[in-house]
Amino acid sequence: MLIALLTDIHGNREAFSAVLAHARALSVDRFILLGDYVGYGADPAWVVDTVRTLVDEGAVALMGNHDDAIDGSDEDMNPIAREAIRWTRGQLGMEQRAFLADLPLIHEEGNVLYVHANGFAPRGWHYITDVIEATRHFSRIEAHITFCGHVHVPMLYHMSTTAKVGSFSPVSDNEIPLLPTRTWLAVIGAVGQPRDSVPAANYAVYDTAQQSLRYFRVPYDNMTAARKVREAGLPDILAQRLEEGR
């Protein structure tokens, strides 16, 4: 079975549509969405409705910190994220807000864990940005494979039988075997706000039969997405990020 893993869509309709089309062209069997559907981008309502439709069709959607902040507190956020969240609240109806508030934090299937930020404190929203944080995750989580997002930049961490942790920066469209002898933590890059100087959208496909993972970069109409951010009156830096992918 092929599972498409999408995360950090952040109200970016153009990127989300491009990734969905790419994944459907690969005939993926399922979608698992790792959170952060809103915040930053100009189309939060459309993105939430699309996620709801996917869930009705059998997809799993988890909660991210931006989704959590819609009905909760935005105090821990940086000023720009907070401004975007406050704008987003005005764009969403009651049903959309209720959908976001009810999302689960984690999802487990066998020895595979899906979560937005990390396994050790899902609602603490700590970032896994390096081997030290990955080691913290591995030391507390039993799962053979964990998929998460939140960082926006793709990275693959792995731990050997002797508890040595390594990291690997994946290239697009390249099949990586998730060896049964290791423990894996795959950080999926952002669909809607890439931050590694490549403007193309990120996502990944997990092949459960082959036990392999394939990261993808999907070019999309980022200039339109950026223009809509400006037209919505959101901070200009958010439009620039989409233009430059950083």
Binding site: S160, T162, K164, F168, I176, P177, T181
Partner: protein, 487 residues
């Protein structure tokens, strides 16, 4: 837990038949498969490459030796091999069949390569230099195929080289290898150099696992050993491994005077400390091994003593500051050093066309500073008649063509050591050019085409056949001022 391996035991549908050998880190058994093609359950990455039309159906199963469980290196080597082998294809590697996880028993099943490894030849060293050259060319071609697949072997040595019955070299044991697009488990887990100490390149000693030219160094060590009977750097241990960063080996001809100067040139070039002073690619090394008369001899060929103390001291100073590369760029290294084939037709009336080819080739070679140029001319033979390969004065047509070709090449603004000349004799010129390109791993063919004419459209041109069938990029050149024929 670990299983006690015995003949007749069945593991995931494979029946153990015979214990073939035990290497440093693995046991190899011959196996048979239940119901052959179908029984491949619960193994990772177990889909065999479709359309394999070569090799035998005989299989071997490789088990890592995990007896001393305090040492994690064999496990990580085995994981590395499990990751890389399913990605490899072609005649120069064993075909991958299946792999199993650590519990209950880790294994890899692959095609059995019949015969023995080159290790069996070690008792006969020094070998005749002609045999050493033939081995070197075959291994270099196999290495180039591997490098094209984004993998550096990093443990090239006699026991890891076998041969198909059809003659091609086959590389085995990818436990120390590095794939450019997969995690490097070894480098991330351990901070120490990997490889087999007598064969390890200087940069490997410095824990650099990113340069495909490390494999050329190891091949150079092997050729040196075969031709002289001695290892160029002995079998050092511990800190002694670093000596190769500054101490050059005794020149092969000082140990075996029968080694020709050009072979010494090739071997010592492979053994250069700085990878930039070695051959740029294995394909370029193979080209020299197969064209000895065109090897450009330098001071290396004449050397009969090791370098002076002062030179050695300078290298020692430099080695103290050597730093490893960060990330591998196998594909980049190969693409900077392409082999360009210029197919030159020296018929009268073709002067404008070959001149246009010369201009374009100079341009290509000026952007790729490590490119090699192969100038090829085809001496067309008749299909039916017995060819007279001499002219009226008894001069060999082949030699005449070669002289003309070299004359054309002499006008190129390209260093001579980067150019080779070949005259092919064939009834079908296009097929001969395509075969040559395939055998020599040519990256780019530059061929001339005369203006279109009704006759040529009817008969088909050499250039169009080359474009259709070549294994690489082809540029078709036309003479600039040539006008189309007016009907």
């Amino acid at each position: 837990m670990r299983l006690r391996l015995e003949p007749g035991m069945v593991i995931d549908g494979f029946t153990l038949v015979e214990h073939l050998n035990t290497g440093g880190m693995a046991q190899i058994w011959s196996v048979t498969r239940e119901g052959d093609e179908t029984a491949e359950k619960e193994s990772i990455g177990s889909i065999p490459k479709p359309g394999s039309t070569f090799g035998s159906d005989a299989l071997v199963m490789k088990f890592p030796m995990l007896i001393d469980s305090d040492d994690p290196i064999p496990i990580v080597c085995f994981e590395t091999e499990q990751m890389i082998m399913p990605r490899l294809s072609g005649r120069h590697v064993p075909r991958f069949i299946a792999a199993g996880p650590l519990d209950p028993q880790a294994y890899i099943v692959m095609e059995r390569i019949q015969g023995q490894s080159l290790k069996a030849r070690l008792k006969d060293v020094p070998l005749p230099w002609q045999e050493v050259v033939a081995i070197g060319a075959k291994v270099a071609r196999a290495l180039h195929e591997l490098h094209l697949q984004k993998v550096i072997h990093l443990d090239v040595k006699p026991s890891n080289i076998m041969f198909r019955e059809t003659g091609e070299a086959v590389l085995v044991d990818f436990g120390f290898s590095r794939h450019e697009q997969l995690p490097d488990l070894l480098a991330e887990e351990f901070r120490e150099p990997f490889g087999t100490t007598p064969y390890m390149a200087p940069e490997q000693v410095l824990e650099d696992r990113a340069d495909p030219r490390s494999d050329l160094f190891a091949l150079g060590v092997m050729l040196y050993f075969f031709v002289t009977g001695e290892r160029p750097f002995g079998t050092p241990k511990g800190g002694q491994i670093r000596r190769r960063l500054w101490r050059d080996p005794v020149p092969p001809r000082a140990l075996n005077p029968e080694c020709p100067p050009w072979l010494q040139e090739i071997i010592l070039r492979c053994l250069e400390v700085d990878p930039n002073d070695r051959y740029a690619t294995a394909a370029q090394l193979a080209l020299d091994l197969e064209h000895p008369e065109q090897v450009r001899l330098t001071e290396r060929a004449q050397r009969l003593e090791r370098d002076s103390g002062l030179q050695t001291f300078r290298r020692w100073l430099k080695a103290r500051n050597a730093k490893p590369l960060e990330t591998p760029n196998i594909v980049g290294q190969l693409s900077r050093a392409p082999i360009v084939l210029a197919a030159i037709d020296l018929s009268p009336g073709n002067e404008d066309l070959v001149e246009a080819q010369r201009v374009l080739i100079e341009r290509i070679l000026s952007t790729d500073s490590q490119a090699r140029l192969s100038c090829v001319n085809v001496l067309k033979l008749s299909r039916i008649a017995v060819d007279v390969l001499e002219d009226e004065e008894g001069r060999s047509l082949h030699v005449q063509r070669l002289v003309q070709l070299k004359h054309w090449g002499a006008a190129l603004d390209v260093p001579k050591e980067r150019v080779t000349y070949s005259v092919l004799e064939a009834t079908d010129p296009a097929a001969a050019i395509i075969d040559y390109a395939r055998h020599n791993h040519v990256d780019h063919i530059v061929i001339g085409a005369r203006a279109a004419s009704a006759l040529r459209r009817y008969l088909g041109s050499v250039s169009s056949q080359v474009v259709a069938e070549a294994p690489c990029s082809v540029t078709v050149v036309r003479a600039p001022r040539e006008k189309p024929e007016i009907p």
